[in-house]
Amino acid sequence: MGMPVAYALTRFQFAGSGMVETVFSAPILVPGLVIGFAMLNFFVLLGDMQVMTGLFIGHTAILFPYSVRVISASLRNLDPYVEDAAVSLGANRLRGFVLVVLPNMQAGIAAAFVLGFITSFNNVPVSLFLSGPGVTTLPVSMLSYLEYYFDPTIAALSTLLVIFTVVLVQTAERLLGLSQYV
């Protein structure tokens, strides 16, 4: 989903493009608790929305800036003239994009996916507000578990999570060179 926004932001300087960029990075800058509470008000109290849907939209919103940034970075590495080159060789705009731009965005898209997955998976503040009966995320249930019990389960689970994240990031780094995008 970050793809079209990233493409538009890197390829065109339009009126307000700076503002759009700021809006899309806002979820990084605004504290998670604020976003979570705002979304709770908006989705659940006003919108009477399903818990699952709310959680989904909330997470999409916090991931959006990451994917936009990462994909923008991969596009900035690509010579903007390759599209013109493809068109001059007989490809129409769409084919030029599919055959030339998209393959060169792949690493960026994959990196955005990994980064997004980790961010979403580890997020507490937004999830805390948007989770509800029957629908919750692992860190949130860990947090509530911790409020009632104090046993090594959480410590063990945390260790597993840390290892899982490290392995995932390392793999991504090896395969895609994640660090050049972040």
Partner: protein, 366 residues
């Protein structure tokens, strides 16, 4: 009939500020024509209009008798080479070159044969399976050339193709482009801001300024006989001064140089200015010499600075009509800073320009 005709092309990015205005140009079959000018003079805009990436506000582009003006860029059959090469980073050299043929749905066997032939022409047949990132800049530009010419385009367009290469490689690639262009007999537009490059590679050169043509001609004629002040500046005439015309006639123009008259070539097609009119005189640093003292005939002056350039020394000399830069053989007599000298004119290659003689071209945009 010219192979490529540009007729009254007008392009403006902003309202009432045309980058190109009523621009017309003919390129003959198989000719290499350079568009030469400083950045912002409209040369790249011209190129991109021919390629179809810019829609002109007015005017027509005709190639081989067919009107191309409303044709989208992917239907134009034009080879384009970019300053940044713009190779496809995810494809091997072979598939980069094959791209245009595959878009044209040419059978596989023929694609293979034509790509191999094109790579052979640029000396890269051994690199077919490499990725662009594994090649040097010169090799990448050769791939770009092969990619643009393998489709046998009507017109080849080159947009500052050598700007990203170092000086020595640039000279090699210049010859390579020229050789390839002549072998294929392909009509070519070459955009550059480097006058040496334009001179060495072209059949004809178009000097552009502010969206209009200053002068068109062979490299020799433009180098030796600029017709406007702008072209003279751009062609490396180091020295310029204003002089009052003494008399005109017989293809000669007389002005005073340190008390004595000197005669310059004057082409009467630029009119016959009255005596007393002001002319701009241009000469290169090689076309004057220095003698010690102020007794000799010529213009008296004083050496301000000298710099060493191998076989030559360049002197900066202050005189009553201005400061001049003058090259002398470094084996000859040397003059220290502050020395009194006389500047003697060797006027065979000097030129005189009257800005009133020709209507001043181009409107000021700033």
């Amino acid at each position: 009939m010219p192979h490529l005709e540009i007729r009254d092309l007008t392009v403006s990015y902003e309202k009432n500020q045309p980058t190109l205005e009523q621009f017309s140009l003919d390129v003959e079959q198989g000719e290499l024509l350079s568009l030469l000018g400083p950045s912002g003079c409209g040369k790249t805009t011209t190129l991109r209009s021919v390629a179809g990436f810019i829609r002109p506000d007015a005017g027509r582009i005709v190639i081989n008798g067919r009107d191309y003006t409303d044709l989208p860029p992917n239907k134009r059959d034009i080879g384009l080479v970019f300053q940044s090469y713009a190779l496809f980073p995810h494809l091997t050299v072979f598939y980069n070159v094959a791209f245009g043929l595959r878009m044209r749905r040419i059978p596989k066997d023929e694609v293979r044969a034509r790509v191999t032939k094109a790579l052979k022409m640029v000396g890269l047949e051994a690199f077919a399976n490499r990725r662009p990132a594994q090649l040097s800049g010169g090799q990448q530009q050769r791939v770009a050339l092969a990619r643009a010419t393998v489709i046998e385009p009507q017109v080849l367009l080159l947009d500052e193709p050598l700007s990203n290469l170092d000086a020595r490689l640039r000279v090699d690639m210049r010859q390579e482009i020229r050789r390839l262009q002549q072998q294929l007999g392909i009509t070519t537009l070459y955009v550059t801001h480097d006058q040496v490059e334009a001179m060495s590679i072209s059949d004809r050169v178009v000097v552009m300024n502010q969206g209009a043509i200053e002068q068109i001609g062979t490299p020799e004629s433009i180098f030796a006989a600029p017709e406007t002040v702008f072209v003279a500046d751009f062609m490396g005439f180091d020295n310029r001064f204003s002089a009052v015309v003494e008399s005109v006639g017989n293809g000669k123009l007389r002005v005073f140089w340190g008390g004595a008259p000197i005669e310059l070539r004057w082409n009467s097609k630029f009119g016959s200015p009255q005596s007393g009119a002001r002319a701009e005189i241009f000469f290169r640093a090689d076309d004057a010499s220095l003698v010690a003292g102020t007794e000799a005939s010529g213009l008296a002056g004083q050496v301000i600075l000298h710099t060493f350039h191998g076989n030559e020394l360049r002197y900066l000399v202050e005189t009553e009509v201005g400061e001049f830069s003058i090259m002398q053989d470094s084996a000859g007599e040397r003059f220290e800073s502050g020395a009194a000298v006389t500047v003697q004119a060797q006027t065979q290659k000097w030129i005189a320009i009257f800005e009133d003689a020709r209507k001043t071209k181009g409107k000021s945009h700033d």
